[in-house]
Symmetry: C2
Subunit: 179 residues, 2 copies
């Protein structure tokens, strides 16, 4: 721990090492520039498959304007997701959920990523990118080779930067909705 | 049982009631025209989440030229799928797997359908359509509203007929593969 503490301290004292939106990652801690750009850094904790407060998740989804979903259905979805990734930070000893994503999977060949969300105040800092990288890393750890998602038009570019390909070999994403 | 037996018998005696590719469905039995068009009908059994022989599945996938997959990974994928649908028929008291599909899901909001396959000798008879209808019905039974899949170019039309929509609201299917 002492090594990491001093490492982080060093980094914190070298602001110029950080470009805009750049993130230092060490273990499960992401260091990002303070929101007020006052030369300090925030520790963002990345947790995988930890317990998540459904109330905090609802608040996070509210913050980006998502339609409210029945809490019981959200619990079922969380319980039956293969992977849950959370980003949070502590302020006044209180944990704040600021990022979330999950994946369904057959634990073998395929995974599909759903519900990627970063709190608006923390967007544009590279956290979404880091969240996705961690998901890909974890899924690859399980030797899952086909990682898929359905991207809204405004985030296609974001996923392309991460190596995702639209309609490879003409394969099309298709949806069936109740009529 | 007596009612169904006599019902089926009646139907079998009225060939003209069946158009090409038309299927009679009663409970989990689909009646299709005999392959040799000799006026007889085959009973195709539809089973959901029943035990499946991995060897039979491999043989079925071979029949459509799919790349062979490690049996251990196939077992994991089957075990962790939310829904497994099989079509089979009996010949000389031997069960033959002729159709298969599975879906991953969070058991709540979303499901993704994978590995839809019909044995070449049984294609073009409406079995794939019936298989998909049963999957949709079952997923709807669990109140899963977003049913998705990734369609190869040659089957997009098939899924459109079933009510699937390509890229709704510009949402794009995206894939990440290991480099």
């Amino acid at each position: 721990m002492t090594f990491w503490k001093s490492f982080f301290k060093q980094q914190r004292n070298h602001n110029n090492n950080f470009k805009n939106n750049e993130i230092m990652t060490r273990r499960n801690i992401l260091l990002i520039k303070d929101l007020n750009n006052n030369g300090e850094y925030l520790d963002i904790y990345l947790n995988i498959n930890n317990n998540i407060s459904l109330y905090d998740l609802e608040k996070l989804c509210d913050s980006v304007g998502w339609v409210k979903r029945p809490i019981k259905k959200v619990k079922t979805a969380i319980d039956n997701s293969f992977l849950i990734v959370c980003l949070s930070y502590y302020k006044d000893n209180k944990k704040n959920l600021i990022g979330f994503a999950r994946a369904t999977s057959d634990n073998s060949f395929n995974a599909t990523i759903w519900d990627v969300v970063i709190h608006p105040e923390f967007q544009g800092k590279g956290l979404g990118k880091e969240l996705m990288k961690q998901i890909i890393k974890k899924l690859r750890h399980y030797d899952i080779s086909t990682i898929t998602l359905f991207a809204d038009p405004q985030v296609i570019k974001f996923y392309k930067h991460l190596g995702f390909v639209v309609d490879p070999d003409g394969i099309k994403g298709m949806f069936w909705y109740p009529s």
